[in-house]
Amino acid sequence: MSSPHILPYRNPKGRTMIRSRTRGSLRLGDIAFSRLTLIGSLIVIAILVNILVILFIQAWPSIQQFGVSFFGSAAWDPVKEQFGALPAIFGTLLSSLLALLLAVPISIGAAIFLTEVAPVWLRNVASFVIEMLAAIPSIIVGLWGLFVLVPFVRSPIEKWLGTAFGALPFFQGNQLGFGFLAAGIILALMIIPIITAMSRDVLRAVPQAQREAMLALGATRWETIRKAVLPYGRSGLVGAVILGLGRALGETMAVAMVIGNAYRITPSLFSTGSTVASKMANEFGESSGLQLSSLIELALILFLITLLINVIARLLVWRMAAVKVVRD
């Protein structure tokens, strides 16, 4: 950010007295302006660093009290002041994995359809409609989940799963509608547009020659997609899925409204539970002392997990973009 970089256009020759004076003052304007934008940028970095530091400081009483056992304990007892994160972490991972399981095939399929199969007019319309799903605020998705999805999950979905696969530990217990299954489905709905839009961009970036070569060898459309298009875009697709995962892990309101807010670890998908984010949303307002500190430690954990996930996804997507530039 030194001034030579800011002013590559200045002319070292024309230096009369008056000119240099005017220029000097104008350069000052340049420096001031670029410094101003630099300050804006530093504030962005400072916010990020501050989130980490402030959360760490305020979580410190809990970190000090429970140490590593915070991650291994299933307790959440404000009376005895015993707190552990395990059920929340378990619930977060379970609901997010369930969401990925449901959303990835649908999203990648939709992205393939939008780039490889659909006629051009349909591509734009369908992309637009799917992207509208991403624009709907999560509280509205949650409202829909609470009044429409949950009754539907209770019956027929859980009823059917319970009858057909009731022998498996995943499909036992009370069929409430609320629970991990509903949370997974609602999260899937929320990440489908994200994964679809990003995968579509990745597949669009695959050079046309790649497809033509495969078709010229006598491959069918699907074989072309399977063997020439998808492998080319693999790291970008993985990046898209991971970004979707990052979103699912941090999603709060829609999950808090359908997951049932119990605090337990169980293999049953019908069971109610909590995620890290829903635990915070439900308890933060009326807690203090060690409980508040423990909730802030949960926020810190969530921040670090999503940070890691986002860094990985960005690197993958960037690598894909770099490959694209080199090969085009």
Binding site: S41, I106, I130, M132, I139, T306
Partner: protein
């Protein structure tokens, strides 16, 4: 058994798999229609002018509306934008015009990461730095939380649209003898203004529907707006409160409020789309 090299089998498999892909797209579209359909049907059945112009009434009385919450949302979004737009634009200008590659990619990375931070964590942060020291929930803390969510959106769209301004324009401006910052302010920014406006509106659409960071910053306030240092109501927050309440009347109002919010957000995204299409052609 089936010979996987047989052309007939391959063709059938091709059709099957392409059909499955189409089903995926169809499902995604179906979900959108289902969700919007329910919001419109349930929302419209209760919506009337009183709902927008009246304040909430005590439980048990029928009627009442969301006036306080609508005003609250406008104040919060305005406050968030007031903080986020200058900061985000400064960052975007830095990224596109002034940053050397190293510094710019560091800032860009930070902005991308900030965009990925869960909104509830941003809420906890705002609670920790403002609500806790001040010992009060406040509109101001909610505005700050929303601003933090909005900044990366504005920054990245500002950068991208300023990059689309051709270099020849900058050079022409500099050749006339004006300084760098004047060329940015009076040539590059006007050239990119549609893109920047698009980014700001995207950010507004995003924060208008945010709920998680408001629960323990704005908190909600039945008596309307009484200062930035006091709790304030907001539309998404009220939808949450009413939706999880056991009262039919409140749940009905939650649907209507959701309808209002969805219309607001969808109109903004339609305008955004229209603006960005106009820019491309």
């Amino acid at each position: 058994m089936l010979d996987s090299n047989d052309l007939k089998v391959r063709k059938w498999f091709n059709r099957l798999m392409l059909g499955l892909c189409a089903t995926g797209a169809g499902l995604a579209i179906l979900f959108v229609c289902l969700m919007l359909g329910y919001i419109v049907v349930h929302g419209l059945s209760f919506l009337n002018l009183d709902f927008i112009t009246h304040t909430a009434v005590p439980l048990g009385q029928t009627g009442g509306g969301m006036r306080n919450e609508i005003i609250g949302t406008i104040i919060l979004v305005g406050l968030g934008s007031l903080i986020a737009v200058p900061l985000g634009m400064m960052t975007g200008i830095f990224l596109s015009e002034f940053g050397n590659p190293m510094a710019a990619s560091a800032v860009r990375f930070a902005a991308d990461i900030l965009a990925g931070v869960p909104s509830i964590v941003v809420g906890v942060f705002a609670y920790a730095i403002i609500v806790r020291p001040m010992h009060s929930y406040s509109a101001f803390s909610a505005g700050v939380a929303l601003a933090i969510i909005m900044i990366p959106v504005v920054a990245r769209t500002t950068e991208e649209s300023m990059r689309l301004v051709p270099n020849s324009l900058r050079e022409a401006a500099l050749a006339l003898g004006i300084t760098r910052w004047r060329s940015v302010v009076s040539v590059v920014i006007p050239g990119a203004i549609t893109g920047i406006a698009t980014g700001i509106m995207l950010g507004v659409a995003r924060i208008a529907g945010e709920t998680a960071p408001l629960i323990f910053t704005a908190f909600g306030n039945f008596f309307g707006y009484d200062g930035l240092g006091k709790p304030i109501g907001a539309l998404p927050l009220q939808i949450y409160r009413y939706a999880i309440s056991p009262y039919k009347d409140w749940q009905q109002q939650a649907w209507s409020a959701a309808f209002l919010l969805a219309i607001l957000v969808l109109i903004i995204s339609l305008v955004v789309r229209w603006l960005s299409r106009k820019r491309q052609t």
